[in-house]
């Protein structure tokens, strides 16, 4: 005789009921992916779901088995055509979405629904690559509840609300496990293996080169670049220069960084007012930490470059936090190496002849370099240059074209032309990119710096003083520095939507939302090895000692398991105190050698037990008599139930 297999599916065909649940689960999971999927794929998935739900689905209405492989091959080909690959993040997600749709098309057995649910979990995870906002979290929770409902619907069939209630009870029981594991599971900093090339694609931020138009493009983005929560005083707008890559090398069009030496300490001594802050830097896949000028030593895991940039040891692939302090009034670079100064004087041969002529003119009128700098600023201010987000295209001689022809430019034009002018006049100069400005969010008093605050300025080197910051943009658009981008641009120019000054109420709303987002970022998304350590240290646990962590986790999980076991017992046990008291009595007699026989009623049993233990005969008969009356008499309320309990409790042989 064949033994039934140990884990066969309880039912082999599928009714319409679990199919509808599976459709809800798949739909909820796919919906947030739609904007990122090719239109045809989204439409195909939606069509499949709708078709099977609307056609009063029975398992027999599943598509014929030959159809889905054909569709899979066709759609796989289209994905290959669309993305050029089947691997990588976007193509992978598209492929998963496709599999989900096709799986639904051929859903016939309970196992198909189980596979569908697992696919949904993967897709949910895929969404987190792009966004991990609180809203995504809520969506994932809804998806998980519907997935639970789908799995439940394979075994029971209740109205939707009852089913959701069971699913929610399961979720509520799972929640404590999630919290304990989230806090205590050792956070290993990723990546464990090489990331696909496009893992962090589409992240905006500065780059290590600058050509005209680069920063004005960045300025269109309202995305947050980083946040700084100042402890104590907040620096005035004019000091809010957050240093990114320093660009020294120039080929006539592009500015690029120059290799510099790095050290564990900054090369200058810090003086003057100090501003201390906690930085939360969004991932930008580069190494710049964008510290406020000029940072003091002591930023964790950072190196200090000779051009005063602070670099992380690895590319910043995830949001990171660090504490830093800035001394904006420090004197820096007084002992700059000659090689570096030579680099800061290089200009391509025979370029920008008009700018060179202007430099000669400035040089002939002023002897000292600092006077040349001042004269140049004055010239710029009087040259009637316009500050605009949409500058016209420049020719080969970018500085000449900007200063003398188009006269319209964004900060990179100003910085670039000024540095060319300085070099032509023999003053070492270089372009610094980074962010300038920042707004205080009134809800948590942290300063928010957006991509639209990206900026380029210049530095000139003066003997005896060192590197001095000169912001040529300030010469023609001084309000850029004090009031941000919106204040500096002419009223009619197209601005990023939320930077526009007339939408204050919207900005308040945004501030509030971003405050929530910041809290979410700090405590949920930013919960990494470092946060975990500091939190656990506060709970006096040493994360370095893995045994302590293991014990803490075991205690937490063990406690939860015990609570669940108690819950299971409580709900399963008969809720009949009388029955339990009688059982206790039976146990006592059984220990004395008189177990109740299955067919014996209380009176018979008592008689037999009494004759077995004559010393206790009266007590035994009294208990049995009272129990029988409580259980079987017409008016049990007339009998003292409490007395029975205490009698049984006292009874001993």
């Amino acid at each position: 005789m064949a033994r039934p297999s140990m884990s066969r599916a309880p039912e082999s065909t599928l009714s319409a009921y679990p199919l509808r649940w599976a459709a809800a689960c798949a739909g909820t999971t796919l919906l947030p992916h739609l904007p990122r999927l090719p239109i045809w794929l989204g439409a195909l998935a939606a069509l499949i779901l709708l078709w099977r739900v609307l056609s009063q689905t029975k398992a027999s209405s599943a598509a014929p088995r030959f159809l889905s492989p054909l569709l899979a091959i066709a759609a796989g080909g289209l994905i290959l055509f669309e993305y050029g690959t089947l691997f990588g993040k976007q193509a992978g997600i598209a492929l998963l979405a496709l599999l989900l749709g096709l799986k639904y098309l051929e859903c016939q057995r309970p196992r198909d629904v189980q596979v569908l649910v697992l696919l949904c979990f993967f897709l949910q995870l895929g969404l987190f690559f792009d966004t991990q906002s609180p809203l995504t979290g809520v969506g994932a929770l809804a998806g998980a509840i519907l997935a639970t409902g789908s799995l439940l619907s394979l075994h029971t069939r209740h109205p939707v609300r009852a089913q959701l209630r069971t699913a929610s009870v399961l979720m509520l029981q799972a929640l404590p496990f999630m919290i304990i594991l989230f806090v205590l599971f050792p956070r290993i900093p990723g990546p464990l293996w090489g990331l696909p090339a496009d893992a962090f694609s589409g992240r905006t931020g500065l780059s290590d080169s600058m050509q005209p138009g680069a920063i004005s493009e960045l300025s269109q983005s309202g995305e947050i670049a980083f946040r700084a929560a100042f402890r104590g005083e907040v620096p005035p707008p004019a000091l809010r220069y957050w240093r990114g890559p320093v660009l020294t090398d120039f080929d006539g069009q592009r500015w690029t960084t120059r290799r510099t030496t790095t050290a564990d300490q900054p090369a200058y001594t810090t003086t003057g007012t100090a501003y201390t802050y906690d930085m939360t830097l969004e991932a930008h896949s580069r190494r710049w930490l964008l510290a406020l000028d000029y940072p003091a030593a002591g930023i964790a895991d950072a190196t200090y470059a000779a051009d005063f940039t602070v670099l992380s040891r690895t590319p910043i692939g995830q949001r990171m936090r660090y504490a830093a302090s800035a001394y904006p009034h420090s004197q820096v670079g007084q002992n700059e190496v000659p090689a570096s100064l030579d680099g800061a004087l290089n200009l391509p041969e025979a370029s920008n002849p008009r700018t060179r002529a202007l430099a000669e003119q400035l040089k002939s009128r002023n002897q000292r370099p600092e006077h040349i700098v001042t004269a140049a600023i004055t010239w710029l201010r009087e040259a009637d240059l316009a500050y605009t987000l949409r500058p016209p295209r420049l020719g080969i001689d970018t500085a000449d074209a900007f200063l003398f022809d188009t006269r319209q430019g964004f900060c990179e034009h100003f910085a670039s032309a000024f540095v060319v002018l300085m070099r032509a006049a023999g003053v070492p100069a270089r372009v610094v990119t980074g962010y300038q400005g920042g707004e205080i969010n009134p809800f948590d008093n942290s300063m928010v710096i957006r991509q639209s605050d990206a900026h380029a300025w210049a530095e000139v080197w003066l003997a005896g003083e060192g590197w001095r910051r000169v912001d040529p943009t300030a010469a023609s658009a001084p309000r850029r520095i004090d009031g941000g981008l919106a204040a500096a641009l002419p009223e009619d120019s197209a601005l990023p939507f939320l930077v526009r000054p007339d939408l204050t109420w919207l900005r308040t709303l945004r501030d509030r939302w971003e405050f929530l987002g910041n809290t979410w970022n700090q405590w949920v998304l930013g919960f990494d090895q470092k946060t975990q350590r500091s939190l656990l240290r506060r709970l006096s646990l040493h994360t370095e000692d893995w045994r302590q962590m293991g014990v803490a986790m075991s205690i937490g999980i063990g406690g939860l398991l015990a609570a669940l076991a108690w819950w299971a017992q409580r709900h399963a046990a008969p809720r009949d105190p009388l029955q339990r008291a009688w059982q206790r009595f039976e146990q006592k007699l059984a220990r004395a050698g008189v177990p109740r026989l299955p067919w014996e009623g209380p009176a018979d049993y008592a008689n037999r037990a009494a004759s077995h233990c004559p010393d206790h005969a009266d007590a035994i008969r009294a208990i049995a008599h009272r129990y029988a009356r409580l259980r079987y008499s017409a008016d049990p309320t007339a009998v003292d139930g409490k007395a029975l309990h205490s009698q049984i409790k006292r009874f001993s042989i």
Binding site: F121, L181, F185, A573
Partner: protein, 331 residues
């Protein structure tokens, strides 16, 4: 051949040890019984294992890409899996199993074992599957309720047939975890011998063959007498009872036919035992159907003469148990 049987024997021996030690199965357990905690086992199903592997992959992805929400989702789903262990466990906990009807059948007919399954808990128990080697039944129990299921089994030999190993299991709620309990309840039914399909006609009745008998015959009404407990309800003179209030039976005087005698020893000597039993069973069944009186004579036993359902059962039981130790002691 031995090379094949040796591992099989080893396996069946191992299986017995596992059954005894791990599943705590004793030869047969008296019903009713209640599933205590230590008799319920839980293990992941195949779907549960795949679910766990999926979670592991999700955990790796979350670590690699530092997806905090990925961690949260993975841990939430892990918690879900753990919680479902207790739901499955609770579904079986303190389930009460009582013996239901198990009417005797003739060999070859399907046997129907009734089981009453219930509980006194305050939450429902759903998607419980009860299965034996040959049948499966699904039950859903509302709070504090019980239900009766009937499990069919093929019959291949006369005598007592036990329900055998019963597995009570559930994969409720998510199909990831299977909770089960194995029991061998002391629940048996009697399998009567099969009925011979074309038997020769039974021997003529005792009266016709000239035998005399003094016991109450059955054809002609002879008067009323005091009721005896062995009298069948048919013999009770209900009208007279209604008038007098005391039980009286109708007394018949033997007429043309005395009781039929079904005698083991009268059958052809070459006939095998089982065929004899089948033939006698057929005669008994036919006689009961025709509501005649009969006597069954087996080696060492004589039953009757009598009539009616009780007598029929006694005879068929004796036939079913012929040759077993019980036959000797109970006859």
């Amino acid at each position: 051949m031995t090379t094949f049987t040796a591992p099989r024997r080893l396996w069946s021996g191992l299986r017995q040890v596992i059954d005894r030690r791990l599943f705590r199965i004793r030869p047969a357990e008296a019903l009713p019984l209640r599933l205590p905690q230590r008799r319920i086992f839980v293990l992941p199903t195949r779907a549960g294992v795949v679910f766990a592997l999926t979670l592991f992959a999700m955990l790796l992805a979350s670590i690699n890409y530092t997806l905090s929400l990925g961690f949260a989702l993975t841990f939430l789903l892990a918690g879900l899996g753990i919680a479902s262990i207790f739901h499955a466990f609770r579904t079986l906990l303190h389930l009460e199993i009582k013996a239901g009807a198990a009417p005797p059948v003739h060999c070859g007919e399907p046997a129907h074992f009734g089981l009453i399954i219930g509980h006194h808990g305050k939450s429902p128990r759903e998607a419980i599957h009860v299965r034996t080697a040959s049948a499966t039944a699904r039950i859903d129990l509302p709070p504090d309720s019980h239900t009766t299921i009937t499990l069919n089994a093929p019959t291949t030999a006369r005598g007592w047939q036990a329900i055998g190993r019963v597995v009570i299991e559930t994969v409720f709620p998510l199909g990831l975890i299977r909770a089960w309990s194995v029991l061998t309840p002391d629940h048996t039914l009697l399998v009567y011998p099969a009925l011979e399909s074309r038997p020769p006609p039974p021997p003529a009745s005792a009266g016709a063959s000239g035998q005399t008998h003094t016991d109450s015959g059955d054809d002609e009404f002879a008067g009323l007498r005091a009721h005896r407990p062995t009298d069948s309800p048919r013999q009770v003179a209900w009208k007279a009872v209604a008038r007098s209030g005391t039980l009286v039976s109708k007394h018949f005087q033997g007429g043309a036919g005395g009781p039929q005698i079904f005698d083991w020893h009268q059958l052809p000597p070459a006939l095998p035992d089982e065929t004899r039993l089948q033939r006698l069973a057929r005669w008994v069944v036919d006689a009961a159907q025709n509501d005649t009186r009969w006597t069954l004579i087996l080696p060492g036993t004589q039953l009757g003469p009598d009539r009616g359902t009780q007598h029929r059962h006694r005879c068929l039981r004796a036939l079913a148990l012929y040759g077993t130790p019980e036959h000797v002691t109970r006859a």
